[in-house]
């Protein structure tokens, strides 16, 4: 037997699925009932995307209830590949039932439940396993399962305490005390904490062995601190921390916080608190004296002490804060982190602010040593932070930018001998100047200042190639300027990988369909969507296995976090924002047929049931704008101040689900029968329980608030369109039995086997059964539909002639095209003369034709206007105008005229490419949907 199996396993190991299938067939010829080989063949089929064939084999193997380990393992991979986790649980449970003494089977059954978060069943198995083997680990598995079930959002509140108590009872049966294992100890403490048994928990952590565990496990130490706090031991924690600071020389900031919390433990008692403040000040004074500039803790804690004293009205000397700030700046102004350290303490007013400003202004640009340069940069950032609105006039901002550029160019000399891959210490000065230019643009609306920012940053990135911060700034500015190819180029240079795709892809993929040229077959942005989404697949393939591994290794402190991590990626908002953009890019590129419509309909409906998590990293984009003004992030948003979030996603989901529903023949009953794999669990949000129809129709202001002005118009248009056409679709859609018959026929053609579990009534098989109701009368389309196209033409002219950014122009244009495509999706059904005739929809054809003619006329006008604008873009005059606009930054050498001209060339060419491409794409799209 081994001799026969070896080639199969070898082929599978090397991913040669074709030869694995051949090798399996060879064995199956002689032994047609060899379960293991069937399972292995199913695996090879799944891996070669031959799902239908795999399903047949898979069901055969499952039906014979396998128990041997190799078959089970092979089937585990098959079922995972098919997303049939429920079946995997059933398979292992069956096997375990047949061999209840088999511990390995028990373990695998437990793990199968863990993978799908079936905590209740997992607990039952752990109980059984513990009864049999008396091993402590199964008690811990059981307790962990109870804890996880209690924390599951679907568990009712009343059941939670019962589950925590159950976990507690289980742990009290343990033979060996938990303190020997940090991880078991951690689980025990967590249960006690949840049950609010703080005294018991306290005794555990403060026992001799408890202390030892906490001293070498950060996770237990973290719990220890929490338990002290929950037990109300703020004062004692302060005393303990004081000892740590003085005797063990611990400089963990948490110790300092404990001292500070203890100082203000009873702020109502003014005199006692004043006394504590004095004592703490002495303590921190000692630390500062001892550490000097070696460590920042003491210095920073003094600032925090003063801040809290002020909050409680217990500050005795009004000049203390200023003196502390000055001392801190003196000591640590040469460190890059000084600005961030001080930010929470410098929100000053009046005289305090004047004194602080005067100190900072004395700091002149100097480029002899790197710390001096940093001192200057920090002073500039701190000064800027407190600038009032009145000081932000365009003239003043330009003046500042020019001063920063001088200091920047001077500062570059300091780093001239650094290897090319090192960051230049002066980088932040270029970023400051760029933000100042953006602030001027924001006030004046004059694009010229964005060119200045872009050209300056392009220079900075040449000097400091590895600065992601400079590139992120460029990406934002290039998107505003409608130069998406340059934005993407910088994004790719950052080399975003793995999970970073989830947190950072918003920089280029937010509203990316605006910049996509999929209509002319350029799939750059489309494939960027797919690339960025790969991380979600690896999450669903791998993370559950790691949760299993954490159980196997008994690393209980990790399991809850792993589950949260998996959920946050699985239900990531960015994931579905990308998905939505991808759909919006597919439609201009592909034929609108049932394959596209049905598939996307099912997927978007799943998304509509999710509870999303926003993992996007916005904080990575530096902000040096004054606190009185908008942040740099807000200033460089796409048209609106609001980042597209859940509300935006919800609107677009509603639009597209509705449109695909109309176009599709699938209704819920059909969908259920045709779906392979488990249906994802809808989130716990009560809204998911409402009928889909009502949810799709609900218009919510907070959602609309996330749309741009033009997107809101598009939403209105889409609503009017679908309301008008719904009755005709509902009437004309073939009955479910006919749709199923058609699907069955297709499957049989493909695989040679009939579709399983389907019984088709004979009368349906020949298509259109007689309808009982009369067809709905054809009515005039609402005026809003064709008016939308008039309005968009007006918007186009307005933006094109006025001061609108290229970004806005593309936004208006792509939305108009999208409206046309939405119309195409929702009218494809009525193209067939037979549908019109059978359903007596005679009048509909003319209405559809009228709207089509109108929309095509508008789009054609826009298209040719765009193409001629594109031609004007990449000319010598265009480049010259752009270069001239950059006068404020042009210097004699390095950042000179030629350099800027080169940037101008890149910008104008990128812009030409997108304008021309979108223009030509419109022409193509309108022709494709006649």
């Amino acid at each position: 037997m081994d001799r026969q199996l070896r080639p199969i396993y070898e082929a599978l190991d090397t991913n040669s699925n074709k030869s694995a299938i051949l090798a399996c067939n060879k064995v199956l010829k002689k032994q047609s009932n060899n379960l293991l080989v069937k399972a292995l063949k199913a695996l090879a089929l799944v891996r070669s995307q031959k799902v239908e064939e795999a399903l047949i084999l898979c069901d055969e193997v499952l039906a014979s209830k396998p128990v041997d380990d190799p078959t089970l393992t092979a089937m585990m991979h098959v079922l995972r590949g098919l997303g049939r986790h429920q079946d995997m649980v059933a398979m292992y449970e069956d096997a375990y039932k047949q061999q209840p003494a088999n511990e390995e089977l028990g373990t695998q059954t437990f793990f199968a439940n863990v993978r799908i978060g079936n905590w209740k069943a997992a607990q039952q198995i752990a109980t059984k396993m513990h009864k049999q083997s008396q091993e402590d680990r199964y008690l811990y598995w059981n307790a962990m399962g109870a804890l996880l079930q209690a924390n599951d959002p679907t568990t009712p509140e009343t059941l939670r305490t019962i589950l925590f108590k159950l976990a507690h009872r289980l742990l009290s049966q343990v033979q060996a005390p938990a303190v020997f294992y940090a991880e078991r100890f951690h689980l025990h403490l967590t249960v006690l904490k949840e049950l609010k048994l703080y005294d018991e928990a306290y005794d555990l952590v403060e026992s001799e062995s408890g202390r030892i565990v906490c001293s070498s496990s950060l996770a237990c130490e973290e719990l220890r601190r929490e338990i002290w706090k929950l037990k109300g031991l703020t004062k004692e924690a302060g005393e303990h921390a004081e000892k740590q600071i003085l005797e063990a020389k611990d400089r963990n900031w948490l110790e300092f916080l404990a001292v500070l919390d203890a100082t203000f433990v009873d702020p109502e008692d003014k005199s006692a608190t004043a006394e504590s403040i004095k004592k703490t000040r002495e303590l921190l004074g000692k630390v500062v004296e001892e550490d000097g500039v070696k460590d920042r803790s003491g210095h920073l804690a003094l600032l925090e002490l003063e801040k809290r004293s002020r909050q409680h009205g217990l500050a005795t000397d009004t000049t203390t804060l200023n003196s502390l700030l000055e001392a801190y700046f003196q000591n640590f102004g040469g460190k890059a982190c000084c600005y961030e350290d001080l930010k929470p303490y410098v929100e000053l007013e009046g005289e305090d602010l004047a004194r602080w400003t005067a100190v900072l202004e004395k700091q002149t640009a100097s480029s002899t040593f790197v710390p001096d340069l940093w001192r200057y940069i920090n002073a500039q950032k701190l000064l800027r932070y407190n600038l009032p609105q009145s000081a932000l006039t365009p003239e003043a901002e330009i003046q500042r930018a020019s001063q920063q550029i001088d200091a920047y160019l001077e500062g570059l000399k300091l780093g001239k001998d650094l290897p090319s891959y090192e960051l230049q210490p002066a980088d932040d000065l270029a970023i400051l100047a760029a933000q100042e230019f953006v602030s001027v643009w924001k006030q004046t609306g004059d694009e010229a200042y964005l060119y200045n920012a872009a050209a300056l940053l392009e220079y900075a990135i040449v000097r400091s190639k590895t600065s992601y911060q400079i590139r992120l700034h460029l990406i934002r500015i290039y998107r505003l300027l409608g130069a998406p190819s340059l934005a993407l180029e910088h994004y790719r240079s950052i080399n975003v990988k793995q999970v970073q795709n989830d947190t950072l892809s918003h920089f280029v993929l937010s509203r990316a369909s605006t910049f996509s040229l999929s209509s002319i077959g350029d799939l750059t942005y489309t494939s960027e969507c797919l690339e960025s989404s790969r991380i979600y697949l690896s999450n669903s393939e791998d993370t559950a296995e790691l949760i299993v591994r954490a159980f196997a290794n008994e690393k209980y402190s990790q399991i809850h976090d792993f589950i949260i991590f998996e959920d946050r990626l699985e239900n990531s908002l960015q994931r579905d924002l990308i998905k939505m953009e991808h759909v919006r890019m597919r439609i201009p590129h592909e034929a609108i047929n049932s394959e596209l419509v049905d598939m996307e309909l099912i997927e978007l409906k799943f998304i509509f049931d999710r509870l999303h998590h926003d993992n996007r990293d916005f904080s990575i984009l530096a902000n040096y704008q004054p606190r009185s003004s908008e942040t740099f992030h807000d200033q460089t948003q796409f048209l609106t101040k609001k980042t597209p979030g859940l509300g935006w996603l919800w609107v677009f989901l509603k639009i597209y689900i509705k449109a695909f529903q109309l176009a599709s023949d699938l209704d819920d009953t059909v969908e259920d029968k045709l779906l392979i794999g488990d249906r994802p669990k809808p989130s716990n949000d009560p809204e998911t329980k409402l009928p889909l129809k009502d949810r799709l129709a609900a218009r919510k202001q907070e959602e609309i608030d996330e749309l741009s002005k033009d997107e809101a118009l598009f939403y209105d248009y889409a609503t009017a369109l679908s309301e008008w056409l719904t009755p005709y679709h509902d009437y004309a859609r073939p009955p479910p039995s006919a749709v199923l018959a058609e699907a069955a026929k297709l499957t049989e053609q493909k695989t040679g086997h009939p579709l399983k579990g389907l019984e088709i009534p004979p009368e349906a098989a020949n298509g259109h059964a007689k309808k009982d109701e009369e067809p709905p009368a054809v009515v005039e389309p609402p005026a809003a539909i064709s008016k939308y196209f008039d309005d968009m033409l007006k918007r186009f002219k307005e933006v094109s002639e006025g001061k609108g950014l290229p970004q806005e122009l593309l936004h208006v244009v792509t939305l108009t095209q999208e409206a046309f495509l939405l119309f195409a999706i929702e009218t494809t059904r009525f193209k067939a003369a037979s549908v019109i005739k059978q359903n007596k929809f005679g009048g509909l054809t003319q209405h559809i034709k009228d709207i089509r003619t109108k929309s095509v006329a508008v789009l054609t006008e826009i298209s040719s206007a765009l193409i001629s604008r594109a031609e004007a873009e990449a000319t010598a005059e265009g480049r010259k105008a752009l270069t001239n606009a950059c006068k404020p930054i042009i210097h004699e050498s390095g950042l000179d005229h030629d350099f800027v001209l080169n940037v101008a060339k890149k910008i104008t060419e990128s812009r030409k490419q997108i304008l021309e491409g979108v223009g030509k794409g419109i022409a193509k799209v309108t022709k494709a949907h006649v």
Partner: protein
Amino acid sequence: MSVIRPFKATDLFKFNHINLDLWTETYAINFYLGYLSRWPDMCAVQETPQGRMMGYVIGKAEGNGIERHGHVTALTVAPEYRRLGLSRKFMNWLEKVSDENYRGYFVDLYVRCVNFAAIKMYEGFGYSVYRRVREYYSNLGLGYSIRDEEDGFDMRKPLSRDPMRRSVRANGRDIVVSAQEVP
């Protein structure tokens, strides 16, 4: 000065400003969760008082007998928090855990032969080159000779169980092994 705390799975959503760095690799989910599911006590983060991550360390324990040791798989600090003593704190902590929790004889780590700043820093912490490993890294294209760019140093520091310093040697830079010979 910082808050030192355990590295958590969800930190992967917050480490961009640390990982967008030439010397720092961003690995697959498997990598981080794999370490956390085996050696959670050897992975730590330091963060600012405002809760922003400043750097992290990921380590493991391996080897048997006198080869038992702690290994630093990744240690990285965001550029804006360098020169503040964070790495020293991480290394002291990891040495303590390797010594107390895993009873190791030494701690070791790999570093690119061209990462001069890091090598100097580790030497300052008491580490020395034990051997040079051929073609341990991929090429970064920094313009050094291929050898230097792709080779790594295996650096070690003995712990309390090795008072005779048997796990280190003086001429380590001259001992060259291939990448296949190291675990």
